[in-house]
């Protein structure tokens, strides 16, 4: 399954783009998406932390993804 992933802040710099397409070979979960992204973009692992948001909600690693979901990588926030 292929998903489109939005990137913000430093994640946009790491991806070199504000969104990337990712092919998920195994499980369609947030956790396997993170694993795929970390293999392709090792700098992701150097972040203090990062979260995945699915349809504008923070998602746990077990969340099942579908192709229609709006998926985003959320590096450590620093608003305010």
């Amino acid at each position: 399954m292929k998903v489109n992933v939005l990137a913000f802040g430093i994640a946009k710099d790491i991806f070199g783009s504000s969104s990337v397409d990712v092919e998920l070979p195994g499980q369609n979960t947030t956790g396997s998406l993170k694993k795929s992204l970390e293999e392709r973009y090792p700098r992701l692992k150097q972040l203090a932390s990062y979260m995945v948001a699915v349809n504008n909600e923070y998602a746990p690693d077990q969340e099942i993804l579908t192709e229609r979901d709006e998926i985003a990588i959320i590096p450590p926030v620093s608003g305010g």
Partner: protein
């Protein structure tokens, strides 16, 4: 009556109109937090800041914070305005204004909102120095 106003804007925030919006004949105290861009961080001169927001999610997370504040304190009106884009030193990235019948609740709710906003709302700040730039809090 609308009791919550949440906005993200790339235009300068208007402090007076934010305060006017939360005032009401029932409120006895208003607490307002105004963030401003500091000229330095950890002893290093800051030229300007750049704020980026994941807007639909940021609005949703701010709405959750507001709802939680209404549950925890007897808040009358609550406003959060956050700016995006390039901000110079002295400019205002965020305004939180809260009116309550009594002041203690207004203070507590306002501190809760800014503290939680900085933890959960998907907005990012890049500090631009003379010799480089850095996304705040990105790295350990």
């Amino acid at each position: 009556m609308l009791t919550t106003q949440i906005e993200i804007s790339d235009q300068p925030l208007n402090i007076q109109s934010c305060i006017d919006w939360v005032m009401s004949p029932q409120s006895g105290g208003i607490d307002v937090f105004i963030g401003t861009v500091r000229d330095s961080t950890k002893g290093k001169a800051v030229m300007r800041l750049e704020f980026e927001a994941y807007e639909p999610m940021a609005l949703k997370e701010m709405q959750k914070i507001a709802e939680r504040a209404f549950e925890k304190w007897p808040v009358q009106k609550l406003l959060i305005h956050h700016r995006t884009g390039i901000l110079q030193v002295g400019e205002v990235p965020v305004i939180i204004a809260i009116s309550c019948a009594h002041r203690q609740a207004a203070f507590e709710a306002c501190l809760y909102v800014i503290d939680t906003l900085k933890q959960t709302v998907p907005i990012w700040k890049k500090e631009i120095f003379e010799d480089g730039e850095v996304w705040v809090a990105a790295h350990p």
